[in-house]
Symmetry: C2
Subunit: 358 residues, 2 copies
DNA sequence: TTGTACGCGTTATCAA
DNA sequence: TTGATAACGCGTACAA
């Protein structure tokens, strides 16, 4: 009778070799009911001091940790926000994740993150989304470029949702997006203000999946420049393959050597970095021989490297996203769908210079 | 009777404005019992074809999504692994997170991430850990430099745990660590092999919290060098303040100008990057005037920048961590505690050159 | 202020 | 192969 009766279900649940302390263990230890323990934990209902002490003692002694699954089941709601991000190995998502964590804490919310494996597979992203929904989180933040709002909307009828960063609106989904049109304008203004008139823009000219954003940026850079009367040459970077990248660099470098352009615009800071290296190897100086700009401003060391770029307003994106989710979660009515758009800021850096006369 | 009887608890749970479809809704729709739906979902128990079809149909029609909280409660175990990381806005944690996600998928496990807000506050990290335990995840991966194993061990008696990357062993906790001693040796070997004998090492000489790793690296760089008979000068970088950083740069640059050293060793790639900029502004060329090495190899663009550094084996760290967790989760007995240690690889880059004679 | 008892949504046991 | 039903651990009227 010693070990067998120790816990009534000792042999009824051999599924795990790891013990679990429950609330009734604590209640028994403290000679109170489970309801009292629950109320003590909740903190919203007053509990007499001697009882408090007993319960605290019992919790410490048993090492009890509340089972959040049971809590959510009983409560029906949860103050946890689910975050779906794509590739954590990407400064953009890294900063976003970090800032959202901060924002969640400010609103006394919890953040639970699911990352979809890298690569552009919409299937696996839907899996991640499903897992978040299965957790019955109180709200969902979707920060993955590839999952289209249309697909999303059928999934998330039942939980407050905000789509972050996608340059796209949707009739039933809240979105906080990055205004790539205005961002491109920032770059263009800076380049023109420094007297450049002959400019090469490098970007994926066709809209491949996964290169959507860069395609968009390049398109708008070009359009803004042309509308301002600049002379624009575009160079297509159809893929991320090193062959394509190298060919792009060669073309740009040739244009510089032939004095056809005085500035080269790229659609990401990594691309700019790649060009900087190629230029150096080709004996071309930046910004003396050619000015160059990037896009993002998120790479660790951007300032150190002196990249001229647009800093994406990731912090504001995170803040607004969390605010909207929070409002939806505390309100018991459905709020009107919101669409917001955020503009970045230009970082002058040292790769963009005034065009020398002649 | 139309809307009022639609769902029996329509007004009994007004907590949320969002509807929830449950398993019994599906069961009713398909004219089967909840048990059948559950078995269908589980997939391990055969279900007759006509029944399958009915259930599938009903699930689609109702838009049902399983409640994982209830599942975990009923099952008592879960195939979800909890990951505690520090600052997602940090390439190291970003890559780790990404690779762990991949590894989890390979083992058919789910990964749920909690990030502790940036800053070195052990309190908030314990909060994150507690939240993971409250989720009753099947295993826990701790990847945060600041939470000491000793503190950890009292928390996680009841769930398989692996500590990732901390240079420290513990009698009851599995650890997969980065062998900073061997990593430092890699740098030292490379520097000595290129003929350098007069070397400056820059690092926090006192062991501040949060600078532990860099302190360790610097200490071992110095020790290895001295053991090999090199002439080492150390420069203290007590903090991350820009004043301290600049003072460090000045000292190193003076040493170079006075021809006291031919190589400068830094304890992170960001530090190296900072020095590269300072050197450039001071008119000192790297590696012509002085060779320089970093530590990490994780910055996006490391190869582009040509940093000479040690690439931390983050991928292997993730893989081993996930393997160990998986083994512990499938085994119903407790496995012996394991300690493993991983060595990185040297990246030659372009900031380290052969020392010129004289 | 505390205790009793039921329900939350799902799984698993046992019959049918 | 399926259906009823008892857990799972916790929150919360309702009663005391």
């Amino acid at each position: 009778m010693d070990r067998l009766a120790e816990k009534k279900n000792d042999d009824a649940r051999p599924a795990s070799a790891w013990s679990k302390v429950t609330m009734s263990d604590v209640a028994r230890e403290a000679n109170v009911s489970t309801a009292t323990v629950s109320r003590f934990l909740d903190g919203m209902v007053p509990v007499l001091e001697p009882t408090r002490a007993k319960v605290m003692e019992a919790i410490k002694k048993t090492g009890y940790i509340r089972n959040e699954a049971a809590t959510r089941l009983a409560r029906g709601t949860s103050d946890t926000v689910g975050l779906l991000i794509r590739d954590p190995n990407n400064p953009y998502y890294g900063i976003l994740h970090s800032e959202l964590q901060l924002g969640a804490a400010e609103h006394k919310l919890h953040l639970l993150t699911v990352a979809s494996p890298p690569g552009f597979n919409p299937m696996t992203e839907n899996f991640g989304l499903r897992r978040l929904l299965e957790q019955r989180v109180g709200g969902i933040l979707v920060a993955t470029g590839t999952i289209a709002p249309d697909e999303l909307s059928s999934f998330v009828r039942d939980v407050p949702t905000v789509v972050l960063g996608r340059p796209e609106e949707h009739p039933t989904l809240n979105t906080v997006s990055l205004d790539e049109v205005a961002n491109a304008q920032l770059i263009v203004d800076a380049v023109l203000a420094r007297g450049h008139q002959d400019i090469v823009v490098t970007f994926p000219e066709t809209n491949h999946s996964g290169l959507l954003i860069e395609h968009l940026r390049g398109t708008w850079l070009t359009r803004h420049l042309r509308e301002a009367g600049a002379n624009v040459i575009t160079v297509d970077t159809p893929s991320l393959s090193s062959a394509d990248i190298e060919s792009t660099h060669r073309q740009v470098i040739d244009l510089v050597r032939d004095e056809k352009v005085t500035a080269a615009l790229f659609t990401s800071d990594m691309k700019l970095l790649g060009f900087l290296k190629a230029a150096q190897e080709a004996g071309i100086r930046v910004p003396e021989d050619v000015s160059a700009t990037g896009f993002d401003g998120l790479l660790p060391g951007t300032e150190l490297l002196g990249l001229a770029t647009v800093r994406l307003p990731v912090e504001a994106l995170a803040r607004r996203g969390m605010e909207i989710i929070h409002e939806e979660m505390v309100s018991d009515a459905r709020l009107p769908v919101r669409h917001e758009s955020l503009v970045g800021s230009f970082l002058p850096g040292r790769t963009l210079a005034v065009r020398l006369p002649q």
